[in-house]
């Protein structure tokens, strides 16, 4: 406990200890090839997302020029339209989709949208959940009980159904779908934070701070939450993958705002129309989702090992 009280005040030895801690974390990270792989993938996808609009113009997703298609040999007649999909090859590395768009360019274009939505949902869910969980745990009593019961209700729901009903009611826009996923996601953070704060609140340093007259808001915000933040960070990292999966699943199940929207789930949904004639259209977008989710899960899994002091030495 002394160590933690020291930390709250911030001395020179403490910064040194922190640097040593960081070095040890880096060492652990180097020891674990899986985390490193996850980290590299995460950096790669974030970098792609950052420069995506420079690589591919946003308008390209909505330009269908069937006359320009090179691949009439693979033309498939359907009842509604003439479709020309190119197999992966020299002209197009990953082939073209049913609208005659270059699949690789569409995947690059959809990565920023997916990542942006995932970051947004996780940030909003964790901010709301952490605030509510911390307040509930600190106040306790009836309020805590009420919050706990409400999260119970949300946990007993088949999560996807709630999101589906919400999306069905409020129309098929990206904003609605984001809200729908958010609606399902926040209770996890309430539970997690509540548990953490309940433990920290009983510790000596919290008592000490209370006894010297620090305001409760200050104690929770600046002392308890920083001490309880590691499991929440791990959960956030793991959830980014989960959110992308859920969001793209909603789109895939038929809540797509527009069939042409460059979003990974949407690209895969377009692929099922051609699943036996042009399998690459479903394989590559899904593989991208898998890799993004895997990257964040690898990182989160490793962070858990690195940040958890019980597993350290």
């Amino acid at each position: 406990m002394n160590e933690k009280a020291d930390r709250a005040h911030g001395t020179e030895s403490e910064t040194q200890a922190r640097i040593a801690e960081l070095k040890y974390s880096l060492h652990l990270m180097r020891q674990n090839p899986l985390v490193l792989a996850g980290l590299i993938l995460v950096v790669f996808f974030t970098a792609v997302a950052a420069v995506a609009t420079l690589l591919v113009s946003n308008d390209e997703a909505f330009m269908f020029d069937f006359g320009q298609s090179y691949c009439w040999s693979n033309a498939v007649f359907s009842w509604t339209q003439l479709e020309a999909t190119c197999p992966p090859g020299t002209n197009f590395i990953l082939g073209t989709d049913g609208f005659g768009r270059d699949l690789l360019r569409m995947i690059i274009l959809s990565i920023p949208l997916d990542l942006k939505i995932a970051f947004l949902i996780v940030a909003a869910a964790s901010a709301f959940g952490v605030a509510l969980g911390a307040i509930a745990a600190w106040i306790g009593g009836k309020f805590d009980e009420a919050i706990l019961r409400i999260t119970d209700v949300f946990f007993a729901f088949p999560g996807l159904v709630l999101a589906l009903v919400f999306a069905a009611l409020f129309g098929r826009t990206v904003q609605t779908l984001t809200l729908a996923v958010l609606l399902v996601w926040w209770p996890t953070y309430v539970r997690l934070t509540r548990g953490q704060v309940l433990v920290e609140k009983e510790k000596t340093y919290a008592e000490a701070l209370k006894s010297i007259g620090v305001s409760p808001a200050r104690i929770v915000l600046f002392h308890i939450i920083p001490n309880a933040i590691y499991p929440i960070i791990v959960q956030m990292t793991l959830d980014i993958g989960g959110v992308i999966l859920t969001f793209s699943a909603l789109i895939f199940l038929g809540f797509s705002p527009s069939p042409a929207l460059p979003e990974l789930g949407n690209l895969a949904a377009d692929g099922i129309n051609h699943v036996f004639t042009a399998p690459w259209l479903i394989v590559f977008p899904g593989l991208t989702i898998l890799l993004i989710a895997l990257a964040f899960n690898l990182m989160g899994d490793g962070l858990r090992d690195i940040l958890d002091p019980r597993l350290r030495r």
Partner: protein, 332 residues
């Protein structure tokens, strides 16, 4: 527990009936034969113009009388009947998926823990992580593509791409339990049973691939924890072979957290795996609930959400009680 069920029903009721764009509950009465003014009369007679809390009260009264309303898309059959006729298919899928999950997830976790920080551990962990990073709708189509389409084009014995039974065999066996595999066995019809088994493999594997990752991780973590305990060192120092130490001494305690997780999976799966059931056109409750969402059948959604919530709540309770019997260290 009661509160949870009321909460779930109130939220669904409010969402399904309350919003301006909500699913119209009187849709089942609309037909071309209606004269002008009749629809308004029906709405008035059924109380659909009343405030929501009064409507909710009416609905609760009906539910306690066992009346769950009607599903107009299913030829106006009672919603309860629609649910009960579909539930056995979901049960069959759940059983198959649970068997897959346990049979693959636990060995993977043990392997990962025993060979900790070796290449085998890394491979096992990547398999587990891939399991819960995979978009299940995508994986379902990939399974269909490979085991149905490509196996077919290569002339290999292929698995069916969807449904519960081949078309020619449907209805050849009397429905006793509702589970196609069990019905086939009870009727002594081996062809039917094998066909039903072949249909269940792909969807069950798709479902289990997601959950076995979680299971393997929990087993790995608790196994590592147990292997560090004193009594394991004791067992080893007695000179017991490593096999006995791991399988007889360590595994028993390591499997307790795995049991909780399996319970939660079973509860979640019984609620119907919407995505998997839809892709494999498996006629279970998850598949129907997606249809109910699109067709605005609030009666079915209410029944479905309540049953699912009930299953989850009861499972949590059962798991807690089972702990008492399995783990002698826990006493309430």
């Amino acid at each position: 527990m009661i509160f949870v069920l009321f909460g779930v029903s109130a939220i669904v009721f409010y969402m399904a009936r309350g919003f301006p764009s909500a699913f119209a509950p009187w849709a089942q009465y609309v037909s071309e034969k209606l004269k002008p003014g009749q629809l308004e009369a029906i709405i008035k007679a059924h109380g659909f113009d009343q405030p929501l809390y009064i409507q909710y009260w009416y609905w609760l009264q009906d539910v306690f009388h066992g009346d769950w309303g009607y599903s107009n898309w299913a030829n106006g059959l009672p919603t309860y009947y629609v649910f009960v006729s579909r539930f056995p298919f979901t049960v069959e899928l759940t059983i198959a998926a649970t068997i897959f999950t346990v049979a693959l997830g636990i060995p993977l976790g043990i392997l990962s823990a025993v060979k900790n920080n070796t290449a085998i551990d890394h491979v096992a962990r990547i398999i587990a992580l891939t399991g819960y990073s995979v978009p299940s709708y995508w994986f379902a189509y990939i399974l269909q593509l490979v085991f149905f389409y490509y196996f077919y084009t290569w002339g290999l014995p292929n698995l069916p791409s969807g449904g519960i039974i081949s078309q020619g065999l449907a209805g050849t066996v009397p429905t006793i339990t509702g589970l196609p595999i069990l019905d086939g066995l009870l009727a002594g019809n081996l062809t039917y049973t094998v066909d039903a088994l072949a249909h269940v493999i792909l969807p069950a594997f798709n479902l289990s691939f997601i959950s076995l990752g979680y299971l393997a991780r929990i087993v790995r973590a608790s196994m590592l924890d147990v292997l560090r305990q004193d009594y394991i060192t004791m067992a080893r120092s007695k000179g017991l072979p490593e096999r006995i130490v791991i399988y007889r001494h360590a595994l028993r305690n390591a499997l307790i957290p795995a049991m909780t997780l399996t319970g939660i999976f079973v509860a979640g799966l019984l609620g119907g795996a919407i995505i998997t059931e839809t892709v494999f056109s498996w006629p279970g409750v998850g598949n129907v609930s997606l249809r109910a969402v699109f067709l605005g059948d609030s009666n079915f959604l209410l029944l479905y959400c309540l049953v699912t919530a009930l299953i989850i709540v009861v499972t949590n309770l059962v798991v807690d009680v089972l702990y008492l019997f399995i783990d002698p260290r826990i006493k309430y």
